[in-house]
Symmetry: C2
Subunit: 243 residues, 2 copies
C-alpha cells in the first residue's frame, strides 16, 4: 500500500507542534509566572497548565495517531497496542497530577474548585478519559473479553478518543484565556491583558499552537486513506496474552 | 441504501441541542445581562454571544450536516447545494454582525480589541469561514470552474468545514468563560463567579450544551456510513446554471 507523503508531512508537523506546545507552556510558566514548586503556592498551580497540556493534549494526541505510523503496520499489532496503552496511561497520570496541582493550590488558598466553564469542560474530559482507558483495557487487551464485544467497542473507542481530544483542546484554550485574565490585571507589576504585554502574546501563541497541533492530529485521524491496513479480524484476535 | 436509525436519532439530537443553545444564549443575556440594544452599551455587547452562537455554531452546524439528511439524497443535488450556500451565508452574516456588535461596543468604551486568546481564535475562525465560503462558491456553484479543480476542492472544503466548526466551539467556550469572569466579580450586585450563582450555572450549562451539540454534529459528519451516496462525478457535474 502506497503511503502518501502528505501523511509523513502532517505527522512531522504534529510532532514539531506538540514539542513546541510543551516548550511554550514550560517557558511561559517559568519566565512570567514564577516557575515551579509543590508547596501549595502559585508555583504549584503552574504545574497545572504544564501537566494538562503535556499529558491531555500533546502526549494524548501522539498516542492517538500512533497506529497511523507506517512502521507500525508490519507484523504483530500487539506491541503497538501496548505502547498505545502505555502512552495514554502516562498521559492520564500526568493529567491527574495536573488536577491535583490545581485542587491542592485552590484548597490551600480557600478558593472554590470547579466553578468555571473551563473547569467543567476539563473535569468532564478527564472523567471521559478514565472511562475510555478502562474501556480500551477491557476491550482490546484483556483476553477474556468476548470477540463480539471487542468488535463493537472499536468504533466507540475511536470516536470517544477524538471527542476527548477535542474537549481537551477546548479546555486548554479556555484555561489559558482564564489564567491570563486572572493574572494580567495591571497590578503586581504586570501590564493589563488588554495591553497585550509580551507574556500575553506568548501565551496566546501557545493557545494557537495547541489548536493547530490539535487540527493536525485530527487531520491524521480523520483521513481514511491513512488508516492502518487491517485484516478482517486483526483487531479482535490479538488481545493480551494471546499474541 | 439502508439508513440506520442512529443517524436519525443523532440528527434529532443535534436539532434539539442547537435549538436549546439558541434559547439558552438569548435567555442568559436577556435575564442576567440586561437585554439587547444597539447603542454602544453593554446591551449591544449582548448581541455578540447571541449572534456568534446562533450563526457560527448552531446554524453553521446545521448547514454542515444538511447533506446527511436522507430526504436530500434523491434527485438533483443543486437545490440542496443552494440551500447549503444560503444557510452558511446567513451563518456568516450573523457572525459578522456579532463581530460588529463587540467591536462597536469596545470602540465606544475605548476598550482594546483582539487581545485575548478567545478573540484570536474567534477572529481566525471568521477569517477562515470567509475563505471557505468563497472557495465553496467558486468551486461548487460557479459553472466556469474547471472540473478538476472542483474535484480537488471537495476534500479541502469538507476538512476546512469541520475545522472551522471546531474552532467556533473553542471560541464559544472560551468566550462564555471570559464573559462570566469579567461580569461576575461580586460587585454591581452580582455574586462572584466562584460562588457559582444561578447565572454562572446557567451560562456554564450553555457552554456544555454547545460542546455536546458540536460533538453530535461532528459525529454525523465523521461517520462514513452516513454520507450522501454519490455517483463518481455527481459532485463535479452540477455547478450553478448547469443543472
Amino acid at each position: 500500500m502506497r503511503v502518501p507523503g502528505q501523511l509523513y508531512l502532517t505527522y512531522l508537523l504534529a510532532l514539531c507542534l506538540g514539542l513546541l506546545c510543551v516548550i511554550f507552556v514550560v517557558y511561559w510558566n517559568a519566565t512570567w509566572r514564577g516557575g515551579f514548586a509543590w508547596d501549595g503556592s502559585a508555583m504549584q498551580f503552574n504545574w497545572h497548565p504544564v501537566l494538562m497540556v503535556t499529558g491531555l493534549t500533546v502526549l494524548y494526541g501522539k498516542a492517538a495517531v500512533l497506529y497511523r505510523l507506517p512502521l507500525t503496520w508490519g507484523g504483530s499489532k500487539l506491541p503497538w497496542k501496548l505502547l498505545h496503552a502505555s502512552l495514554t496511561l502516562l498521559s492520564f497520570l500526568l493529567a491527574v497530577l495536573g488536577l491535583i496541582a490545581v485542587f491542592d493550590f485552590h484548597n490551600k488558598g480557600h478558593t472554590p474548585n470547579l466553578y468555571s466553564l473551563h473547569s467543567w469542560i476539563g473535569i468532564s474530559t478527564v472523567a471521559l478519559f478514565t472511562g475510555q482507558w478502562l474501556l480500551g483495557l477491557a476491550s482490546f487487551l484483556l483476553p477474556c473479553t468476548p470477540l463480539e464485544l471487542r468488535r463493537r467497542a472499536k468504533p466507540l473507542h475511536v470516536w470517544l478518543g477524538s471527542t476527548i481530544f477535542i474537549l481537551g483542546i477546548a479546555a486548554s484554550v479556555s484555561g489559558i484565556n482564564e489564567k491570563l485574565i486572572f493574572s494580567l490585571k495591571g497590578n503586581n507589576g504586570t501590564a493589563q491583558y488588554s495591553a497585550l504585554p509580551q507574556e500575553a502574546q506568548f501565551a496566546n501563541m501557545l493557545g494557537v499552537l495547541i489548536v493547530v497541533f490539535g487540527l493536525a492530529v485530527l487531520r491524521i485521524l480523520s483521513n481514511q486513506a491513512w488508516q492502518r491496513p487491517e485484516g478482517e479480524n486483526s483487531e479482535v484476535t490479538q488481545p493480551l496474552l494471546q499474541d
